[in-house]
Symmetry: C2
Subunit: 200 residues, 2 copies
DNA sequence: TTTTATTTGGGACATTTGTCCCGCCGGGCG
DNA sequence: CGCCCGGCGGGACAAATGTCCCAAATAAAA
């Protein structure tokens, strides 16, 4: 549920300590809550997460928002915008303290063109993202029930994921109210199965 | 709504009539209804649509299916599987008679590595797809109403798109029954606005 | 420590969507 | 010609989800 990509982190780690390219890669910190990319704005940088977690979310005019993904170590931010040269499709916000490598679009595109390993790793990362995004989107439409299962899995990671219930709901594409209902059902179900009902 | 990519078609057109690479690019035809890629199977080829339309769909165990996209001229099929080396994430089926360029994964990956223009065009195509997929997914979750608007737009292209109502519904992630309801509302709304109610 | 927000949990009701089912059409075929 | 089958439209009811609202619990600020 939290996407990661150690392969790229290794490459960037190395590049950053490496001659002239390294000088174009800055290390920056953000603290929880800060916005790295604002939906609809023109971006100038590409980021690689060294540590921490961000949420990547899409807001509609009506105030509602949908969380596309949670990204962790090694993940890239702003590549799409660098490649397509379009304004940012979504917002990216730190949900924990964050340490990132930052470079400008030009440098990123240059690396993409000149560094074969970098190119193929990014390509693979995008392929995986595309697959996951599509599958998630499909599942979300098709499974009215399996949500519950997903919930369980989510619950496991929930402890480690520093997000609010509201954010979880946004990720699942439902309202907070619905999430609460589902969670309650989960509880009842599991107590029926495992522990005989306790009085009190 | 029907994704296209003339830029790649140009490149492939050229490549196919071009020395040794050209020999590895076959021209094939499929007719309406034929399956090019089966979800869950290991693929061996990558396709480029020369003409015609396919639907790219994801099926869940429970029999339901979700249509990820409709692809037309110039679009690529099977790239994700070639890049990630995983089994096919979705099925691809011709919904009109089809003419495609076909090459094996190896050749595709080779082109990706050796041909810079090819590489950057595919990269861009994937970036656009990723953006569109994510945005669509988000919109589908966020807009209970705007479906209607989408419907209108869809209706415009509907004539040209050789698909059934059921397929349209699958694309929208709703049941056929719901689609009918929405369409009816559309009709009533528009007749209220434009034409005063006709008696009999 | 008191006060103020934020987060959380849930009742009551309205709306939307799905499920089941039936009837209508139009084309292919014995 | 009558039959069957796939696509289409829609009624009736059930289930899921959203909206509105309020109250307890926590966290943050004063």
């Amino acid at each position: 549920m939290i996407r990661k990509s150690p392969a790229i982190l290794r490459i960037i780690d190395e590049l950053s300590g490496n001659g002239q390219t390294g000088q174009r890669i800055l290390l920056r910190n953000f603290h929880k809550g800060q916005l790295l990319i604002g939906q609809g704005t023109i971006t100038t940088n590409v980021f690689f997460i060294k540590s921490g977690i961000v949420k990547c979310s899409f807001a509609e005019d009506n105030g509602k928002e949908y969380i596309l993904e949670f990204l962790g170590e090694g993940e890239v931010l702003g590549e799409l915008e660098a490649i397509t040269k379009a304004p940012a499709m979504s917002s990216v916000q730190a949900i924990s303290d964050l340490s990132v490598y930052m470079l400008d679009k030009i440098t990123f595109l240059d690396l993409l063109r000149r560094n074969e390993a970098f190119n193929s790793t990014i390509l693979e990362l995008m392929a995986v993202r595309l697959t996951d995004t599509a599958v998630r989107s499909a599942r979300q439409q098709l499974n009215p029930l399996e949500h519950n299962l997903t919930q369980l899995l989510a619950a496991l990671e929930y402890e480690k994921l520093p997000c609010t219930k509201q954010e979880l709901a946004d990720y699942l594409g439902i309202t907070l109210r619905s999430l609460n209902r589902l969670l309650k059902v989960q509880l009842v179900e599991s107590s029926k199965t495992h522990n005989p009902p306790q009085h009190r």
